[in-house]
C-alpha cells in the first residue's frame, strides 16, 4: 500500500512538474519585467481555456499521428463540423448542449468519412488528408455564402468557454479517452497497432476498423475544440487554400510533451499537461508584450528544442545504463582479481 502510494505520488509529481515549472518560470519572468497579471484571475482562466482548446486538438492529432498517420484535415474538420452543427442547431432551435452534441456527431461523421477515404483508397494518409482538407474547406466555404456561422445573437449558446462547463467537458473527454485506451478492446488494439502494425495485423486485429474508429474519435475531439473556439469568439469562419492547417501548428508541443509525460501517467493526461505548459508560454509572451514574429520564433525554437530532447533522451538513459553496467563489470572483475 505504501509503495503504491509512493508510486502514485511519484507519478503525480512527474506529471505536474513541467506544468508547475512553466507556470513558475513565467510568473517570475513577468513579475521581474514589471508586467503583472500572469497566471492569476482572468489570465489563469485564459490559460486553462487555451489548455483545453489546444489539448483537444493535440488529442485528436495523437489518435492518428502515433499510428503513423499524419492528418492534414484537422482544421477543416474543426471548421466544417461547427458550421454544420450550429446551422442544424439554429434551424431546429436547439439549446447549448444539443448544439454541442450536434457538432460532436458531425465531427465524428466527418472524421469517419476521412478515415473511410483512407481505408478504401489505401493511399498514404497525408495524401488522402490533403485531398479531404481541400474538399471540406470548399464545403465550409460554399455553405452560408462563405460567411460561416455566428451565435452572437444567441447568447445562451456559447457557454463552453466558461467555467464550469469547459472543465466538465475536458474532464469528461479525458476520462473517456483514458478508459477507452486502457480498458477496452479498442484501446488494446490501438496500442498494439501503434507498437507494430504488421504483427498486430498478423494476430488478427482489424486494422481498417481501428483506423476508422481513430479518425471518428479524432473528428469528435476536433468538433469539441471547435465548439470552444465558437464559444470564445461567437463566430466560425471558413478558410481556403489549406489555410485550415494552421489549426494544428500549436498542437505539436502538447503532443510531444504528452508522449514524454506518458511514462508518469497516461498519454491523454500528459497531453493536457503539455497543453498547459504551452498555454503558459503563450500567455507569458502575450503579457510580456512580445511581437508576433518574435513569439513565433521563440515558440518554434522551444518546440524544436523539445523535439530534439525527447527524441534523443533515450541516449541519456542508454549512457547511464551502459555506465552502470561498465562500473558493475569493473567492480566484479576487481572482486575476482
Amino acid at each position: 500500500m505504501g509503495s503504491r502510494l509512493g508510486k502514485f505520488a511519484r507519478c503525480l509529481a512527474g506529471t505536474l512538474a513541467l506544468p508547475a515549472l512553466a507556470y513558475c518560470f513565467f510568473a517570475v519572468l513577468c513579475s521581474a519585467s514589471g508586467k503583472a497579471g500572469f497566471g492569476v484571475g482572468s489570465d489563469l482562466a485564459i490559460i486553462w481555456r487555451n489548455t483545453v482548446y489546444s489539448g483537444l486538438i493535440s488529442l485528436a492529432l495523437s489518435f492518428n499521428l502515433t499510428s503513423g498517420r499524419f492528418d492534414f484535415s484537422v482544421g477543416s474538420i474543426l471548421i466544417l463540423s461547427v458550421i454544420l452543427g450550429v446551422d442544424a442547431a439554429l434551424a431546429l432551435g436547439l439549446g447549448p448542449v444539443p448544439m454541442l452534441l450536434a457538432c460532436l456527431a458531425t465531427g465524428a461523421i466527418l472524421g469517419g468519412l476521412s478515415g473511410l477515404a483512407y481505408v478504401l483508397l489505401r493511399l498514404p494518409p497525408i495524401v488522402v488528408s490533403i485531398g479531404v482538407a481541400m474538399i471540406y474547406e470548399a464545403a465550409a466555404f460554399l455553405m452560408n455564402g462563405g460567411s460561416g456561422v455566428s451565435v452572437i445573437m444567441h447568447p445562451d449558446l456559447p457557454i463552453f468557454a466558461r467555467q464550469p462547463t469547459i472543465t466538465i467537458l475536458a474532464a469528461a473527454i479525458v476520462a473517456l479517452l483514458v478508459l477507452l485506451l486502457n480498458f477496452t478492446k479498442f484501446g488494446y488494439n490501438t496500442n498494439s497497432l501503434r507498437g507494430g502494425q504488421a504483427t498486430a495485423v498478423n494476430i488478427g486485429i482489424d486494422e481498417k476498423r481501428n483506423a476508422l474508429a481513430c479518425y471518428a474519435i479524432a473528428g469528435l475531439l476536433l468538433a469539441a475544440a471547435g465548439v470552444i473556439s465558437l464559444s470564445i469568439l461567437g463566430t466560425m469562419a471558413p478558410k481556403l487554400s489549406l489555410g485550415s492547417s494552421s489549426y494544428m501548428m500549436n498542437a505539436f508541443l502538447p503532443l510531444f510533451l504528452g508522449g514524454f509525460l506518458a511514462r508518469y501517467s497516461d498519454r491523454n493526461v500528459g497531453i493536457i499537461a503539455g497543453s498547459f505548459v504551452q498555454a503558459c508560454i503563450i500567455s507569458g509572451f502575450a503579457i510580456l508584450g512580445l511581437s508576433v514574429s518574435l513569439q513565433s520564433v521563440l515558440n518554434t525554437l522551444i518546440v524544436l528544442a523539445f523535439l530534439l530532447f525527447t527524441s534523443n533522451s533515450y541516449k541519456l538513459e542508454e549512457f547511464r545504463m551502459m555506465k552502470a553496467k561498465r562500473l558493475a563489470a569493473i567492480a566484479a572483475r576487481e572482486k575476482t582479481v
Partner: protein, 378 residues
C-alpha cells in the same frame, strides 16, 4: 408617289435605327449585347467586406450589365497576383478590378501588356503618377487613404465619446499587410492628436488574428482597465468576449465592418445596446463605377471619362457610421431601392448608351454614394 417613297424611307430608317439600338443590348435587356469578362482580385475571399462587394457585383451582372466576373482565390503574393491577371487575359477578360494589390505597379503593367483595363490602386500616388497616361490604366475612385482614414474616423468618434483606455486589434499589421499597416497608422494618428491636446490616453495592441496566442492577448487586454476596443478586421470577434468578460456596458467597439444581409441585424442590435460606437465601411458602389468604366473602356471610350487625358483619381470618403440613424439610412440604401436606382444610373457612364457621358457624370455618381447624399435622401 413621292410622299409614299418618303414615308417608306422614313419607316425603314426608324426601323433600322431601332434595330441597331436594340442590337447593343442583350436579349434580356442588359448592356452590352456581347458579354464582357472582368477579373476581380482579392486578398481573402472570405473577408466580409469583399463578400459584400462580390454580392453587389453579381447583382449588377444580373440586372444592368452583361458582365461575367472571374473572382480570384486567395492572393497572398506578387506571383499569385500576376498569375491571376494572366489567367484573366487567357479567359478573354477586358478588365481587372483590383480590390487588392500586392505587386504594386507590376500588376498595372501586366494588365496593360495583356491589353486589359486596370481599375484600382490610384490611392498609391507613385503608381498613379507612373501609369496615369497609360491608356489601359483607368485609375479608380479612391477613399482618400481609406484604410487610414477609416480607422482614424472610428477612433476619433470614440475619443469624442470620452473614451481614453483603448485596445487596438491590429490584424495583419505585424505581418506587414499594407491594409492593416495603414489602419494602424490611422488609429495611432488619432490617438497622438488627442495626446497632443493633453488627453491622457492608454492604448494596448492585440496583434494578429484569432488563434491561441490571440485569445491570450485578447483576454489579457480585456482583463485590464479599458473602455474602448478598436478593431481593424471586424467587430464580431470582440462582441462575445466583451460580453463574457462582463464589460458590455463599460466597453464600446469601433471597427471596420461590412454592411450586408448577414450583419445588419447584428449591427442594429449592437448599436441599440450601446456596444457599438462607430463602424467604418467601404461603399461598395464605387465598384459599380468600376464595372461601368470598364464596359465603357472596352468599347473604346475610356478617354470620355478622363480629365486632361489622365486616369481617374477622384476621392470620396468611406462611410464612418457613428449613430444608429446613419446606420438605418445606409442599410436602407444598400439593401433597398436606393442602390437599385443608383445602379441603373451607372449606365450614364457608358458613352455608347449616354453620349453625354463625361468626367462630370463620373463626379456626380461619386457624390451619389457619399454619406451626406444618403443622409439627405428621404
Amino acid at each position: 408617289m413621292k410622299k409614299a417613297a418618303c414615308a417608306i424611307a422614313l419607316i425603314a430608317t426608324v426601323a433600322g435605327m431601332s434595330a441597331f439600338g436594340q442590337a447593343k443590348y442583350a436579349a434580356d435587356g442588359r448592356y452590352p449585347a456581347k458579354t464582357i469578362k472582368i477579373g476581380v482580385e482579392t486578398f481573402d475571399p472570405s473577408d466580409g467586406g469583399y463578400m459584400g462587394v462580390q454580392s453587389y457585383l453579381k447583382s449588377l451582372s444580373k440586372g444592368i450589365f452583361n458582365v461575367e466576373f472571374i473572382f480570384s482565390e486567395r492572393i497572398d503574393s506578387a506571383e499569385q497576383e500576376l498569375q491571376f491577371i494572366e489567367n484573366c487575359a487567357a479567359a478573354g477578360a477586358k478588365g481587372i478590378i483590383a480590390y487588392y494589390n500586392v505587386s504594386k505597379g507590376q500588376a498595372v503593367a501586366k494588365a496593360a501588356e495583356l491589353k486589359m483595363f486596370y481599375w484600382g490602386t490610384a490611392e498609391e500616388k507613385d503608381i498613379y503618377d507612373q501609369y496615369k497616361a497609360n491608356p489601359y490604366f483607368l485609375g479608380s475612385v479612391i477613399l482618400g487613404n481609406g484604410d487610414h482614414d477609416g480607422m482614424y474616423g472610428v477612433t476619433k468618434a470614440l475619443l469624442a465619446e470620452g473614451k481614453t483606455k483603448f485596445v487596438y486589434a491590429n490584424g495583419g499589421a505585424d505581418f506587414g499587410i499594407t491594409m492593416f499597416v495603414n489602419r494602424r497608422l490611422g488609429f495611432q494618428d488619432a490617438i497622438n492628436e488627442a495626446k497632443a491636446k493633453g488627453a491622457r490616453i492608454t492604448a494596448t495592441e492585440v496583434p494578429g488574428f484569432p488563434n491561441e496566442a490571440w485569445f491570450a492577448a485578447q483576454g489579457a487586454a480585456l482583463a485590464g482597465d479599458i473602455d474602448a476596443v478598436v478593431s481593424s478586421f471586424g467587430p464580431e470577434v470582440w462582441i462575445q468576449p466583451i460580453t463574457a468578460a462582463g464589460k458590455a456596458r463599460a466597453v464600446t467597439i469601433g471597427s471596420f465592418g461590412a454592411i450586408g444581409p448577414s450583419t445588419v441585424d447584428l449591427f442594429k442590435g449592437m448599436y441599440a445596446s450601446g456596444l457599438f460606437s462607430a463602424i467604418a465601411t467601404e461603399p461598395t458602389e464605387r465598384f459599380g463605377i468600376a464595372v461601368a468604366m470598364i464596359v465603357n473602356a472596352a468599347e473604346g471610350n475610356a478617354a470620355a471619362l478622363k480629365k486632361n487625358g489622365e486616369a481617374t483619381r477622384e476621392a470620396e470618403s468611406l462611410w464612418v457610421i457613428t449613430n444608429p440613424q446613419d446606420l438605418a439610412k445606409i442599410v436602407d440604401f444598400e439593401l433597398g431601392a436606393g442602390r437599385t436606382a443608383y445602379s441603373k444610373d451607372l449606365t450614364k457612364l457608358v458613352k455608347s448608351i449616354d453620349p453625354s457621358a463625361g468626367n462630370a457624370t463620373l463626379l456626380d455618381l461619386i457624390k451619389g454614394f457619399s454619406l451626406e447624399t444618403i443622409r439627405a435622401k428621404k
